[in-house]
Amino acid sequence: MATTAEAGPKVTPDMRAELSAEQVGHLRHFENLLAQPPNDWSLMQGKGMGQDDFGGYRFQLAYLTYALALTHAHRLPAAPGVFKPMFERAIEKMLLPEVWIYWKDTSRGGAVFNQHLSDTYREEYDPVARDNIMYSAYVQSMALLFNYLFDDDRYARPGALSFNFYTPFWGGPPKRFEYDQNTLNEHIYWLMVENGYLGVACEPNCVYQICNQPAILGFRMHDLVTGGAVADEVTRAYERAWADFGRLDENGHYNMMMFQDSKAITPNRGSWPWVDAWCGALMNMWNRDLVRANYPGQLANLVDRADDGTVSVRPGEPFLLAGNPVVGDACDHGWVSVWAAEMGDTETLRGLLAHADRYMGPRWRDGGLYYPRNDQRADADGHRTEMEPMSGNVLLAYARLNVEDGFWKLYNQPWGPGHHTEPALTSVAADLDVTRAYYDPERRELVFTLVGRADRAGDGAVLLAHLDRAGDGWALWLDDRVVARGRRGGEVAAEGDGVDVRRTGDGVRLVGPAGGPHRYTLRFDGEMAEEMAEEMAEEVAE
């Protein structure tokens, strides 16, 4: 499956639209969770224990980060200052031992279905050394997304992705496992090769289709950063390898996993909605035809549509292993919402979100919007009410923030080389929301909307960078009036009350009036800097 690598439109209707109050609320909730001190996992604790299930912190941090990436790429491409700090904090949290230390026990492979292999597995502290793609691929893809989105290779430095563990009471001496985005990417690639491109295992001996998709995203981001073609190689080989087994089961649902030793396939025998939804939402990035062809039939068996337009997800069968119930967070409503969003199935997505808003108790807290955990499966009238932290913190937000084919576009329509030198908001004060931010190269306009937050302390400033490259001079419009002007490399001056602009580097620091929304347009005139003109010409040629 060759990557399309086509140029997407520079400005889309999703970029021109303002973020809704709910979308802003979700971003604020992400920020709230990420601002919690280390090992404060408030609101993130699910039903499962020991970070063993699909509601674990690693999944919440990873998909929160993916949602940030999609929102930045497709809605606010000129606002890296909104997203970059959150990305950094998410990666920092992802490296905390609380997130990954489960692996020292899981690595021993003590599952009932692996008893015949128990002598071959040993305790492993290094969380990315073998298997555990359900963690390693997220670290890899998050770091590489960061490099791609922010043109910052800080995680490429030796040891930048290090896993440190020490407790004085068990586990022996301090442990440190050093990687960076390149060594981790290469390591995962070779693990993939060793297993014939079928994928790397999660728990020992268990290769999930779903959990290998983030690794493919990571390979693609690495290719975009380095100019390689590993993602093409891996996806072609993955398709060929799985052709022997079938990607779908006899009922048309995605096969869930394969046992590495016997190559026996485990279908989605519990009719679990999350299997199709999670797999489809991710795999759409490189295998859109397959995903789209199967989506309607798969979805039809998984949802119920009410007369009022709300849509709910039918629960799958209880997960039993050797007769024992497995307690964990399935996140069906969240995953199906994410899937519908990626498919651009607006009617279903609206119905799912309407159901969540009506029956799943949305709550605003510290300015952020989320759906609190609720272990009760349904209310007295039979409406499904169960809500897991993974869905309530992350997945419903992700669904609301993504656009049709969001992952596909991220993968196939990368930004051109000039993107990172275009005018942009590279720093945003804590007391501001940004609800729109794009640069239109044809009109030579940086368009953005700022809304002040009374509930947060801050200096109300944004840094508008890369202005000198884009033209000889500019005028900043606030709604229908000019409020400031500037010349390349020269003075900047405010023209009106309530606006303060000061030159800083190749841009300006802007403080506007409180409240809002305030809709700004920064229009350039004169000649573009030669460098930028060349980069734009390259993009057009491509």
Binding site: W190, E194, N195, G196, D232, E233, R236, D244, K263
Partner: protein
Amino acid sequence: MSPVNPALRPVPGSPVGARFDLVDHHGERVDNATYRGHHVLVFFGFTHCAMVCPRALGKLSAALDDLGPAAEEFRALYVTVDPERDTPEVMKAFLERSYPRFTGLTGTAKEIDAAKGEFRVFARRTEDPDGLEPYVVPHSAITYVLDRSGAFRTHFTEALEADEVAARLTAVLDAEAR
């Protein structure tokens, strides 16, 4: 692990150890040191392979043909993942008949497993879906390039066409010349 020449340490940080200690299709013991002074192409497969090996060996042979005299800078090795059937004699007959640029390498099951581990090769014995052979051994189709010291340099996959392979090999020589 099979004993390997301890002087041939993997390149620090290299994802592929690339060490081997096997028997060539003339019955001689060989390891990385045997081919010192030449770049080495290494491809793993088995002589009963119906599709992947003939395609890869043919493509690699064509790429070496394209290089002209520069092909002398390379030695091409075909390492079996099926030591039970691929004796030195079987490999010699197979390669000399159709792919004379290649030298076949085999060994005990333990030695082959060690080499597979070093090169991180995937291979698994399974039933032949076509029922033509008692068994088949589907395997990864990666060509490894070792440098003149016997250390792993680069690799490429079966997705490349012969002219692209030739270009990659030329690039290896060019990089060395710089």
